[in-house]
């Protein structure tokens, strides 16, 4: 009887999280549909200007998308190589004692509030970059992207390390017994074998960067800017959403609805990345 009650309560808790998620997606889609009744989808996807709150508003998501992808690219340029090297070191070279200390520390790093990283970018990294790159504006994609990269290193390193450690020891032995060094074994046997798992780690890192908000909102500036130059300021989808959501928009207005259209776009992008990561990991499991 008591058991049964516990089971029901637990089920309700589990079910409620699913229901809430579905409800959120429902609201996003519902409000976005209202938005797309006034703004044609094709215009939303192709217009190159995003000024929804101006007197003559334009609703092109491209500048925000561009800002998001550009910061993510910068982040990946930082986190990719460093995360990979860290993973190779931890998985193939670190003594077990070192790994036991470093791995949880890495995971702890992902608990640092992102607003801290944001101010780190704005108050430390940007001034530093300004010494190297003259004329760098106070808000810029580069600084935000670099710090975002630093932020996702632990994530990429930790997940990649898991994938590499899952490679059977027999393959390392096979390589070493052929006279390969540990470095050759790591890069020519272990890494290629774990490649789908490592790729999944990268994709999840990207997905995280895409959804990351505080760093870009604080350090990249908030003007939508269709540019490929990381030295310029730019707004990302997330930065736009916080900026506008904090403002005072009348419920049901088109400005209000842009939040949902932008949110839905973001959701779809991260969803695609997560599905890709899921697929890659499934492939990796199949192989080993």
């Amino acid at each position: 009887m008591r058991e049964k009650a516990v089971e029901i309560v637990l089920f309700l808790c589990a079910a409620s999280s699913v229901v809430i998620t579905i409800a959120i997606v429902g609201v996003l889609v519902y409000e976005s549909l209202a938005f797309f009744r006034s703004v044609p989808l094709i215009l939303f996807l192709t217009d190159t200007v995003w000024t929804p709150l101006f007197a003559n508003p334009r609703y092109g998501i491209l500048p925000l998308l561009n800002g998001t992808l550009l910061t993510t690219l910068v982040a990946l340029c930082v986190a990719g190589p460093l995360g990979l090297v860290a993973a190779v070191y931890l998985s193939e070279f670190a003594a077990p004692r070192v790994r036991e200390i470093v791995k949880p520390t890495l995971e702890l790093l992902s608990g640092v509030p992102t607003v801290v990283y944001g101010f780190f970018a704005l108050l430390f990294v940007t001034p530093l970059l300004q010494k190297v790159i003259p004329g760098l504006p106070g808000f810029n994609v580069l600084s935000a992207g670099i710090v975002m990269g630093i932020m996702i290193i632990p994530y990429i390193a930790s997940l990649s390390e898991d994938a590499m450690r899952a490679v059977p020891q027999g393959l390392r032995d096979g390589s070493l017994a052929l006279g390969a060094t540990r470095l050759e074994t790591a890069f020519r046997v272990v890494l290629p074998t774990a490649i789908s798992g490592v790729a999944a780690a990268f994709v999840l890192g990207i997905s995280r960067a895409v959804g990351e908000t505080m760093v870009v909102a604080i350090a990249a500036g908030q003007q939508p800017n269709l540019t490929l130059d990381p030295r310029e300021p730019a707004a990302t989808i997330t930065a736009y959403i916080v900026q506008v959501a904090l403002g005072d928009l009348p419920h049901g207005s088109i400005g209000y609805q842009t939040i949902f259209a932008a949110g839905l776009t973001l959701l779809l992008i991260t969803l695609i990345f997560n599905i890709l990561a899921f697929w890659l990991r499934a492939r990796f499991r199949e192989a080993y």
Binding site: A95, P168, G170, L171, R172, D173, G174, S175, L176, A177, L178, G179, A180, T181, E184, R188, V189, P192, T193, A287, Y288
Partner: protein, 273 residues
């Protein structure tokens, strides 16, 4: 058996029938292995004849694999393992500081119990070692090495039309022959095999055994097996290990017809192990 051997002038394997007249390839003297505090091998001294098959038999856990791994210094990769004693290949001490373990392992190949092809194509599996050691100057040379190695490992006919397909897609027996081809590709002198057929069905096992018999024309082979029929079929010399000690070593024929030690007799007649 335990007296010091003059290494400079290779000695003839004494008491051997089939391997008689063969020079000694590997001289092992008082080899001990510890895993942490646990001693796994006690003063093992044995000569391995050149271009012949030497089988190590004995109950599970008696140190056969441990001893095998001494001869290409694979125990170096196990942090807790410590090896003492002298091992000389062609008169050269393999623990000598001037000896590069990478070169040693190119000379002394190894085939493992569980087939372990890399997650690469059949071609790339075989080409891996030659690439690492820079053995081929051109693609054509590499192709030739791959073909030659697969032929020697009796896999060419089955693999030649699917060289670009993954090695992991082969059957277990084919995978093991691929691993043999991979070892052969770096042109070793010695091939160590640790129960190479224990994961295979009887037909695949028979093929591997035939292959081993052919390979001894060109290579010094040491094979660990828990299968005494296999030892009798493929080897010229047999060594029996028990509880980390080398109990007895003789020509395979004598070992199986007239073992001297009581423990060997018991093992061979199936009374334990």
């Amino acid at each position: 058996m335990n007296q010091r051997v003059e290494v400079a002038a290779p000695v003839v394997a004494a008491g051997s029938d089939d391997a008689r007249g063969r020079p000694i390839k590997i001289v092992n003297r008082d080899v001990n292995v510890w895993y942490g505090d646990k001693r796994a091998l006690h003063d093992v001294s044995i000569d391995i004849p050149d271009r012949a098959v030497t089988a190590f038999i004995g109950p599970s856990g008696c140190g056969k694999s441990t001893f095998l791994r001494c001869m290409n210094r694979m125990n170096d990769t196990i942090p807790s393992a410590r090896v003492t004693g002298t091992i000389e290949i062609d008169g050269q001490d393999i623990h000598d500081r001037s000896l590069d373990v990478v070169q040693l392992r190119a000379r002394v190949g190894m085939v493992f119990q569980k087939p372990n092809p890399f997650a690469k194509s059949i071609y790339e599996n075989v080409a891996y070692g030659p690439r690492i050691h820079g053995l081929a100057r051109s693609k054509a040379e590499l192709d030739a090495i791959v073909e030659q190695s697969l032929k020697r490992a009796a896999l060419w006919d089955e693999a030649k039309d699917r060289l670009s397909q993954p090695g992991t897609g082969l059957s277990g027996g084919q995978q093991q022959r691929l691993c043999i081809a991979r070892a052969i590709a770096v042109d070793p002198e010695v091939i160590l095999m640790d129960e190479p057929a224990s994961a295979l069905d009887p037909i695949a096992t028979a093929r591997i055994e035939d292959l081993i018999d052919e390979l001894r024309q060109n290579y010094t082979i040491v094979i660990v097996t828990h299968n005494m029929q296999q030892a009798a079929r493929v080897s010229q010399r047999t060594a029996f290990f028990h509880l980390g000690k080398l109990v007895e070593e003789a020509s395979t024929e004598r070992m199986f017809t007239a073992p001297r030690d009581k423990r060997t007799q018991d093992y061979i007649t199936g009374r334990f192990g």
